[in-house]
Amino acid sequence: MTHDNNDITGQLCQRLSHLTESKIEIEPDMNLIDTLALDSMKVLNLVMEIEDEFDISVPINALADVHTVRDLATLIHQLISSQE
């Protein structure tokens, strides 16, 4: 199954909406920690769920440059593409 960046971003927004129990709409440029108030452990646990959903390995050291939902989607897209 192929995933484009927009699909991945949409799936992430849905997952984050559930995780944060937020009534506000999750936007791709929202900051995971500052805006969505996820603590570092929640982000790491989210990564494990993403690994299972897309059947990829997401090294936590690759998260250093991930700040927004869009950054995370781009990373996932790159990792999926590198496996194909």
């Binding site: 646990n45 690994e51 390995s57």
Partner: protein
């Protein structure tokens, strides 16, 4: 935000965690009377949060060995093991640790934290993978950050989840170091080590077990979970600390791989720090002898642990899956954990308070650590106080 403003933000966050006047973190200890009693806030309290599992901090043999070492070798080494800090005591302790674990190689580090940093950063590099249990200690996470390796977490104590993630790695599984702990520091639960060893063998990976909380506690001779599960000969590296069951400070790594010794030349946390002082080394050597023959201490520790665990469980506290030296009660509402912690201290009992995000799922932990030096009467008194507070808080 400038550097100082960042610190001010930390101060604000810290204040928001705890009500004014509650000194749950870094509480001043005014005097220590014994392995189980101290003076806090001007009054005598029972220590139930110290990791002093065998109660050896006041063992006469250890104190005498430390005194003698100061007299003969001075107060400190003032240098690295790689320079002027490689004393005969350090080398003797390494030989004794290797013999104790029936392993070919042993290295001593200045702290347990550095033992994990130095071992992980020395073993693993760019192109390798670290596969760590999600609940691993901060020293393991920090050790991983010192490498250029890919770091992947697997779900806590879930051997099936580990296997799934190793399978995804394909050929890279053979250059992967899996890291787990014998007993986990927060909930006191144990790794499913037999299953993890089987998977590690199947995928031709390497395995490091941190026995910080299980050394001296598990196994007939106190070698830890690797001894209790009969897996010592299949685990590649075992790390641990001297600051819990051995009652001093320092850390170690033992291995059947003789190449472990090469870490001395590449492990920066080993090289770029001063070695342990002679008194620390000699008290640790004395404690290791007591630990090895301390079957009675292990029995007493487990009797105390079973007694307190059963009492707290009967009162309705949410505990970890099995009794052990760490008995942690999960409190769903952190504010109630603060009340419980303060109530225990007001009744002369010191325990550890763990708040989110250090405690998972936005909950809090009241973490007790039991010692062989505790008496049955002390355990019963603790149970009584927990009972009273349960009635008044929950």
């Amino acid at each position: 935000m400038n550097l100082i403003e960042k610190l001010e933000a930390v101060a604000e966050e810290r204040k928001s965690l705890l009500p004014a006047g509650l000194e749950a973190f870094g509480i001043p200890i005014e005097a220590v009377y014994s392995p189980t009693e101290a003076k806090i806030g001007g009054r005598r309290v029972l220590f139930l949060g110290t990791n002093n599992y065998l109660g050896l901090t006041f063992a006469p043999e250890c104190i005498a060995a430390a005194h003698k070492a100061i007299d003969e070798g001075g107060t400190g080494t003032t240098g690295s093991r790689m320079a002027n800090g490689n004393y005969s005591g350090h080398r003797a302790l390494e030989k004794e640790l290797a013999d104790f674990f029936q392993c070919r190689s042993a290295m001593v580090f200045t702290t347990g934290y550095q033992a994990n940093l130095g071992t992980i950063a020395g073993l693993v590099g760019r192109g390798d993978t670290l596969m760590i249990d999600a609940d691993c200690h901060a020293s393991i996470y920090d050790g991983c950050r010192l490498t250029d390796a890919d770091v992947i977490r697997f779900r806590h104590n879930d051997a099936g989840d580990l296997e799934k993630r190793l399978r995804r790695l394909g050929e890279k599984a053979s250059t992967t170091l899996i890291i787990v702990e014998g007993i986990y520091s927060m909930q006191g639960d144990r790794a499913p080590l037999k299953d993890i060893v089987r998977i590690k063998n199947e995928y031709n990976s390497y395995l490091l077990v941190d026995e910080a909380h299980s050394l001296g506690v598990l196994g007939e001779k106190g070698r830890g979970l690797v001894e209790e599960t009969g897996t010592l000969d299949q685990v590649d590296f075992v790390t641990g600390t001297f600051s819990k069951s051995l009652g001093s400070i320092g850390g170690y790594c033992v291995s059947n791989h003789p190449q472990l010794a090469e870490l001395r030349y590449i492990s920066r946390p080993y090289i770029f720090t001063a070695s342990s002082s002679p008194s620390i080394i000699e008290s640790t050597r004395a404690a290791l002898k007591l630990l090895e023959k301390g079957t009675d201490l292990r029995q007493q520790l487990m009797e105390n642990a079973n007694r307190l665990y059963a009492r707290l469980e009967s009162l309705g506290y949410q505990l970890g899956p099995q009794p052990g030296p760490i008995i942690a009660a999960t409190v769903n509402v952190p504010e109630n954990a603060l009340l419980l912690w303060q109530g225990l201290l007001d009744n002369g009992i010191y325990v550890n308070l763990v708040l989110p995000p250090a405690a998972p799922d936005d909950k809090a932990l009241i973490r007790c650590s039991v010692s062989a030096a505790h008496t049955r009467e002390q355990m019963d008194h603790v149970g009584d106080v927990f009972e009273e507070l349960h009635k008044s808080i929950f």
